[in-house]
């Protein structure tokens, strides 16, 4: 049954598999949705969607798939409430029903139903004229007719579509720009691989020792283990000021998240303006008095550090490519910015560039965005979103293997 809905969901990026799909089919068979599309919407969502960030994808796919459903509009709540009481099954006069409806087309039946809908003032169950349950009219439910329109359960078809189209869960999309907690969650993932296989076994595992000793018939057998500590060391280099102002809040959130991820073994944060040259800065103001030599930072930050650079990589090409291209003309650079970037990349195999610019703008035609492409040649670049950060963290972990 509507297998193409499954494929549509997958096309919208959900990872729905056969397992969930079968559950949905099972639920349909048990009629847990009481034959209502609105109930079906909630049922399908609860069975198929596994993350709140996928709700929005589901809503979109649902609207798209069911938007062409015929709408018998204007079914009043009153009418629906009449339909709620199902008449006990009687043996319908099949012959009469067949002769009544057989020669009418669906369109004619629909027109007749609309007329009755206007005229009907009370519940009619078990008859041959009005909309109701049981009986032999071609509209309503639980009755007998060779063909017709089923009106049933609570809620109209359109209600489900309205709910889906409202897209209330839009804010949960994981390609949306990050919130601080989400940043932290992403950073937690950096923790996973650290510390499990390195370092000496220095911790006594009391439980295992007791267990081993007992199994050993009471002779002491000691079990030592490696302490599970986070070994992750992080170097954060943040572009500050100028074209980054619009993203200051975002960078601030990232910074707080990193800072609060206290499980990191070490964290170093430096700032730069537009591009990295001979000097980094210890404060976001990038004042000359707060400078620190890039070489010094590199030689005092070991190769095993993971490096995250945050910046829009948007600048005048000269700033990246030429000697003396630096914005701060008081302190000209004798090495082009791109060389510095390459050096950093070479020293730190686990390094990524997070870009707050929307991905669409990375290869724009603007004069300044050409540098994005060039920086991207040097560092793997990810957008500064939950998804982007997750992908970046994966990349960082890959390099440590």
């Amino acid at each position: 049954m509507f297998t193409d809905f499954l494929y549509l969901l997958r096309a919208y990026g959900m990872k729905t598999g056969l397992n969930e799909w079968n559950s949905l089919m099972e639920a349909l068979q048990m009629n847990l949705n009481h034959s209502s599309l609105t109930e079906f919407y909630y049922m399908a969502r609860t069975v198929l969607v596994k993350k709140e960030t996928d709700y929005d994808k589901f809503d979109q796919a649902f609207s798209e798939y069911f938007k062409n459903l015929p709408d018998y509009g204007g079914v009043s709540d009153e009418l629906l409430s009449w339909l709620d009481t199902v008449m006990p099954k009687t043996n319908p006069d099949r012959e009469r029903a067949d002769s009544m409806w057989e020669n009418m087309s669906l369109e004619e039946i629909e027109a007749l139903m609309r007329q009755r809908m206007r005229e009907q003032t009370e519940a009619h169950n078990g008859g041959n004229k009005w909309i109701g349950t049981g009986g032999i009219t071609a509209f309503g439910h639980s009755g007998y007719a060779p063909k017709g329109i089923r009106i049933s359960g609570e809620g109209h078809n359109r209600k489900a579509l309205k709910i889906a189209a409202a897209r209330e869960y839009r804010d949960f999309r994981d390609d949306k720009v990050l919130e601080i907690r989400q940043f932290q969650m992403a950073f937690r993932k950096l923790r996973i691989l650290s510390g499990k296989d390195e370092g000496p076994k220095t911790e006594l595992n009391v439980e295992k020792t007791i267990e081993k000793t007992c199994k050993n018939g009471g002779n002491l057998e000691i079990v030592m283990e490696r302490p599970r500590k986070n070994q992750t060391k992080l170097l954060l280099l943040i572009d500050s000021g100028g074209s980054m102002w619009p993203y200051a809040d975002l960078c601030n959130k990232l910074f707080q998240a990193v800072n609060q991820a206290s499980k990191l073994k070490d964290l170093k944060v430096y700032y730069f303006h537009n591009c990295i040259y001979g000097e980094l800065f210890t404060k976001p103001g990038c004042m000359w008095r707060d400078r620190i030599s890039t070489d010094w930072v590199m030689s005092n930050t070991k190769r095993e550090y993971k490096v995250i650079l945050v910046g829009d990589a948007t600048m005048g090409p000269a700033e990246l490519l030429y000697r003396g291209g630096i914005v701060d003309y008081m302190h000209p650079n004798d090495k082009p910015g791109i060389r510095w970037l390459e050096e950093i990349r070479k020293r730190y195999p686990a390094s990524v560039w997070m870009n707050p610019l929307h991905e669409k703008l990375w290869n724009g035609d603007y004069y300044t965005s050409r540098t994005v492409e060039m920086v991207k040649q040097v560092f793997p670049m990810y957008p500064l979103t939950v998804k982007g950060l997750e992908a970046a963290v994966r990349e960082l972990l890959k390099e440590s293997l």
């Binding site: 990872k15 598999g17 397992n19 969930e20 559950s23 099972e26 639920a27 048990m30 847990l32 109930e39 909630y42 049922m43 609860t46 069975v47 969607v49 596994k50 993350k51 709140e52 709700y55 209330e168 869960y169 601080i180 969650m185 937690r188 993932k189 996973i192 007791i210 267990e211 007992c214 199994k215 009471g218």
Partner: protein, 270 residues
């Protein structure tokens, strides 16, 4: 068929009621996710109460292993007993202690099993329970015995979304996300806890509460339990509701962090 409707102390949204009933009908665990303070844990209590079933709670901590929920083989007790020649040392079964999941399987009547805050445990934890939750049985190698659920328990799992749960595990669950209650729903919730609260104070308090929740830059937003505590304090303190628009008394109950209180102070004059 099982039909959960919510009860007078626990106000559940229609969506949540649907999800509970669907999970019960499909015999799958229900995974409930949501902000802290949206009543995830309370849900299991309400379900158990409304269906008149016993509730077993397995609280997950960062050190909890899947094995703890099944059974524990008390080797130390056995060794100890053997030295004093206590009767029954030969019987390993005597030293097998059931965990919460094992207990739930052994009950004669159907129970509700709450696995609370599953995201607190190790990342692999949910994967270790796949078979047990799917088949509702496990094997004890020490005794060669298989423990199988007599009546499939209704399993409710809560998560604060601190860790991503593995896909294989998610596939086997019915998922429900509890959004933070809107004002109307919150009115219901507060009324359920303080039935005799005056309408004007209730509205004043809720207005103030949502105003505070919507303040930009809060690091920890107040949730339902903070609101309930705060209303309690307002009543005990006899604060007239008219003052709530210009002044937030007992703000420390709503906001737990110093910088958040600072943010609030900038908005209101004390």
């Amino acid at each position: 068929m099982i039909n959960f409707q919510g009860n007078e102390e626990y106000i559940a949204s229609d969506e949540l009621i649907r999800s509970v009933n669907i999970a019960a009908a499909l015999k799958k665990p229900l995974l409930v996710k949501g902000e802290p303070g949206t009543g995830k844990t309370m849900l299991a209590e309400a379900v158990a109460k409304s269906l008149d079933m016993e509730l077993l709670i397995w609280n997950i901590k960062s050190t909890t292993r899947a094995q703890d929920g099944l059974y524990v083989y008390d080797t130390v007790q056995r060794l100890y007993d053997s030295q004093f020649g206590t009767a029954g040392v030969d019987d390993i079964g005597k030293y097998i202690r059931m965990g919460k999941l094992g207990e739930a399987f052994q009950r004669e009547k159907q129970v509700v099993l709450l696995i609370d805050e599953i995201d607190k445990a190790d990342l692999e934890f949910p994967n270790d329970l796949l078979w047990e939750l799917d088949q509702m049985e496990f094997y004890i190698p020490e005794t060669g015995e298989t423990v199988k659920a007599k009546e499939r328990p209704i399993v409710i799992i809560t998560s604060n979304a601190e860790k991503e749960l593995p896909d294989a595990f998610l596939r086997r669950c019915i998922f429900h996300y509890i959004a933070f209650p809107e004002k109307e729903e919150m009115t219901e919730i507060v009324k359920a806890h303080f039935p005799e609260l005056e309408e004007s104070l209730l509205q004043g308090a809720l207005d103030a509460f949502y105003r505070i929740r919507n303040l930009p830059g809060l690091s920890k937003k107040p949730a339902t339990s903070e609101l309930l505590d705060w209303i309690m304090a307002l009543r005990l303190g006899g604060i007239p509701e008219e003052t709530l628009t210009e002044k937030i008394p007992f703000a420390g109950i709503l906001l737990k962090k110093t910088e958040d209180l600072g943010t609030l102070e900038k908005r209101y004059v004390y």
